[in-house]
Amino acid sequence: MARLTQMELLQINELLRAEELAWRKCEYYGQYAQDPQVRQMAQQGAQHHRQHMQTLMSQLQSLS
């Protein structure tokens, strides 16, 4: 069974931190922006950052 290296673990942790902050900012911007198109971009962003967090989590779980 393949296991993560220390470097991989730390990199994934770093990515999760970045995706989490990006997601939270997008959630906020999605309610805050004036222009509906900007709002929509932020909402899309929130969705995809959230998906990325889930993908990273499942990689983390399958390799540890």
Partner: protein, 130 residues
């Protein structure tokens, strides 16, 4: 006074800028993680996530560009011509089979013609010197 307490607001332009910069930062972070990774399956996941991030980055860029919030000035045409001339003559000199044939005869000791460097000093030199 934008930054006094209570009156500070992020504009839509600020928001798009942050979406763009965040995407840019994540693309870099995914690239680094991919290069540091040993598992083929993890590498390809990271690659795919970076690709998605790149698509989002392109959308955010377009949104800014359409609104005139991200200018993309054209290249200096005389510099472009010089660079094209430099590399086409280098490649011609090397020939189709690599550098072996012409080793020791690489043209252009200096990358750019001297008159250009005079007209356009480098970043460190102020433009309006007497």
């Amino acid at each position: 006074m934008d930054n006094q307490a209570g009156t500070f607001r992020l504009t839509d332009r600020d928001i798009l800028t942050d979406l763009l910069l965040t995407a840019k930062q994540l693309i870099g972070a995914y690239g680094l993680a991919e290069r540091e990774s040993t598992h083929p399956q993890l590498r390809s996941t990271l690659h795919q996530l970076a690709n998605e991030e790149e698509q989002y980055h392109a959308q955010a860029f377009q949104a800014m560009h359409q609104r005139g919030w991200y200018e993309t000035p054209l290249a200096d045409s005389s510099l472009a011509q010089q660079i094209v001339a430099l590399w086409s003559s280098k490649l011609q000199a090397y020939g189709p089979y690599g550098a072996q044939q012409t080793a020791g005869q690489i043209p252009f000791a200096q990358p750019y013609a001297p008159q250009y460097t005079q007209q356009n000093p480098g970043y460190n030199q102020p433009y309006n010197q007497p």
